[in-house]
């Protein structure tokens, strides 16, 4: 099992009241950046990079980054910059980008160049994930949401061709047009860096991933619906002549560990109280899912009905209440023993080859975060690696998807 560390790198110095008083009471897109203090931003970026660098020592297999725009919930507005720094300051862990929001790039060739540089500087440690981006990413960059999926697929095809086909070649597509595609720098990994796709499981994306043999990383989805969504992936995989295994799936969970259950539980509340952005205040539907963003193909609307609904769906995971979330193993928080015991239940059910460990966020302090990472390294990660072997949770580096 491949274990990678994740945090949203939240900016937390604002209040729920600030958000309520902002346009449409939205924490993303229109929440004014007058609430941002670059002095604090400078500290936070450096602390977050320190934490990621420490993760190498702690023994994580990968460092996972993500990207969002116009939001205090995630400081990774240009994730590739952080990745480039970590490519240079770390030596061993994979740098896992989940992912670059392809549709918002008007120049995917430039993206292919950036990723190739990161791959070379890291000496072949890049995992290049791609996403459609939330509606906010489309709105923040004025990218027509109606073309989101078309642009995602075309940009993907162009990046892959740029990496794998000797140039120069011409690209006259639907959304992208280039007279000379021939970036001189190509990725170190051949034919190209591994591609993983994170998401909450739209049937269109699951089938697209299965067609491409790309591992799908489920982001905090309900375990039961995750099993249903894996079924959609598996059906499509079988059409393409293969049976998916754990190496085709990943799972992201908020997992926080401290010396005692009581203290972990106290600190873990910070996921919810300190970061009003990750679900605690409702976001306008038209921000996250603007007109045109969601597919309306009846075939996929029907497939969606195959997926059991998440009991915490209404209002989001964070609105469900701390105790209920812990009870349902939707966040795993406790002493090392508790965390290991609870994770066994989840891993046996979901069977991912990749586990994304969202160790800290919101108001969880840098000090508590470092202690969490230390305990992860000393006790949790070794136990999880053993558990992965025992449960035969093969990862994409042990078996090519």
């Amino acid at each position: 099992m491949f274990l990678m560390r994740f945090t949203e790198r939240a900016y937390v110095n604002y209040t729920a009241e600030d958000v309520k008083n902002s346009p449409n009471s939205a924490v993303r897109l229109t929440f004014s950046n007058r609430h941002f203090d670059p002095q604090l931003g400078a500290d936070l970026y450096n602390e977050y990079l320190d934490e990621y660098e420490y993760c190498e020592e702690a023994g994580f297999d990968g460092l996972m980054l993500n990207e969002h725009h116009n939001t205090p919930t995630c400081l990774g507005a240009t994730m590739n910059l952080e990745a480039a720094i970590l490519a240079r300051t770390t030596k061993k862990p994979k740098i896992v980008l989940l992912g670059n929001p392809l549709p918002i790039f008007d120049n995917p060739v430039r993206l292919a160049e950036e990723l190739a540089e990161i791959d070379m500087i890291s000496r072949g440690r890049l995992v290049s994930g791609f996403v459609r981006g939330t509606g906010v990413e489309s709105l923040a960059t004025n990218t027509n949401p109606l073309y989101n999926r078309e642009r995602f697929e075309e940009a993907h095809d162009l990046v892959i061709k740029t990496w794998t086909t000797p140039g120069p070649f011409r690209w006259e597509g639907e959304h992208y047009h280039f007279r000379v595609v021939n970036p001189f720098e190509t990725p170190l990994q051949k034919p190209h860096p591994p591609i993983w796709i994170p998401g909450t499981g739209s049937p269109e994306t699951l089938e697209w991933c299965a067609e491409h043999h790309y591992p799908f990383v489920f982001l905090e989805t309900d375990p039961e619906s995750t099993v249903d969504m894996k079924g959609i992936y598996a059906d499509k995989a079988r059409e393409h002549g293969y049976e998916p295994g754990p190496e085709h799936f990943g799972y992201l969970l908020r997992i926080h560990v401290q010396d005692t259950d009581a203290y972990a539980k106290e600190v873990g509340k910070g996921y919810l109280v300190g970061n009003v952005g990750v679900g605690r205040l409702p976001m306008p539907n038209d921000y996250m899912f603007p007109v045109g963003y969601s597919g309306r193909d009846p075939k996929y609307l029907q497939l969606r009905e195959r997926i059991r609904s998440d009991p915490f769906r209404v209002g989001g995971l964070d609105a469900a209440g701390y105790e209920a979330i812990l009870e349902a193993n939707r966040m795993i928080i406790g002493s090392p023993d508790t965390v290991i015991r609870k994770l066994r239940e989840v891993l046996a059910r979901v069977r991912p080859g990749i586990l994304a460990v969202w160790t800290n966020d919101g108001s969880i302090s840098h000090k508590d975060s470092l202690r969490c990472l230390q305990l992860m390294g000393q006790e949790v990660l070794p136990a999880l690696h053993d558990m992965g072997k025992e449960l035969e949770l093969t990862d994409p580096f042990q078996k090519t998807p």
Partner: protein, 261 residues
């Protein structure tokens, strides 16, 4: 819908669009806004006493087909010049509401024989210089409706159009209409930078009608249209929002009859 009003399907180069047609007399073409045609409303019925009124639903709206090549306002201009030609409707008067006003303005800026007279009502298409055109695509339908009317009480069809619960079919239609509006108007948003310059070419009688309290497209755009179209007149209706034809149907119809003759 009165008995003499018919829902017809029109084939334009293999694309079937829906159209309401009713009344008697000389033809009058009505081009709808982002909300779609909204059915045969009071203003249409009143105008039908004097004209044969044609209300086509643009490709992609209200169940009209969209040909794969049609993605922009200039594409829609091509489609409508084809429509007018095949339906024998060239050289007739036209009224364009909001998005439909923009479309009508683009058509007359492209060809001189499309329409004989033009009425533009709270039309999109020109970038305001002081204010902004409201971004409809980050607002909910309820917020848009609220901004559309100055005083819903004076709109006799308000409850019929916006009150009560929507059927799933109605909701689906509204989503598809919004998607088509996104397709046509995303960037540059709701305007064409070329349009003011091209409108200098227009030599047909043009009447511009605007609600003074239009919170979607500011009334200054009416003035910019007046300046751009030679000889155009601007009539601003007091206590009226973005849809004079629904909010003040009687005043609107009076103006239309006066102008169209």
């Amino acid at each position: 819908m009165p008995a003499d009003v018919r829902q017809v399907s029109v084939d334009i180069g293999g694309t079937h669009i829906r159209m309401l047609k009713g009344g008697a007399g000389a033809p009058l073409v009505i081009l709808h806004g982002t909300e779609g045609c909204q059915g045969w409303l009071r203003y249409a019925q009143a105008l039908a006493e004097q004209f044969t009124v044609y209300v086509p639903s643009h490709p992609g709206f209200d169940g009209s087909e969209r040909p794969a090549w049609l993605n922009t306002i200039p594409d829609l201009v091509c489609f409508y010049t084809w429509f007018l030609e095949t339906q024998g409707l060239e050289g007739v008067p036209a009224i364009g509401f909001s998005l439909g006003g923009w479309l009508a303005a683009e058509i007359v800026a492209t060809t001189h024989h499309a329409f004989s007279k033009l009425m533009l009502v709270d039309a999109a298409g020109i970038k305001p210089q002081v204010d902004e055109i409201t971004d409809l695509f980050i607002l909910s339908p309820a917020q848009i409706t609220q901004l559309t009317f100055h005083d819903p009480q004076q709109a006799p069809e308000y409850d019929m159009l916006y009150g009560g619960t929507r059927t799933p079919a109605h909701q689906e239609n509204a989503i598809k209409n919004r998607e088509m509006a996104v397709r046509l108007t995303w960037k540059p948003y709701m305007h064409d930078p070329r349009l003011p310059s091209l409108l200098a070419r227009v030599h047909i009688p043009t009447c511009i009608v605007w609600g003074r309290q239009d919170h979607i497209i500011p009334v200054e755009c009416g003035e910019l249209y007046r300046q751009a179209i030679p000889g155009a007149e601007l009539v601003v209706l007091d206590n009226c929002g973005h849809m004079p034809q629904v909010e003040q149907p009687e005043a609107f119809v009076r103006l239309a009859r006066q102008f169209l003759g």
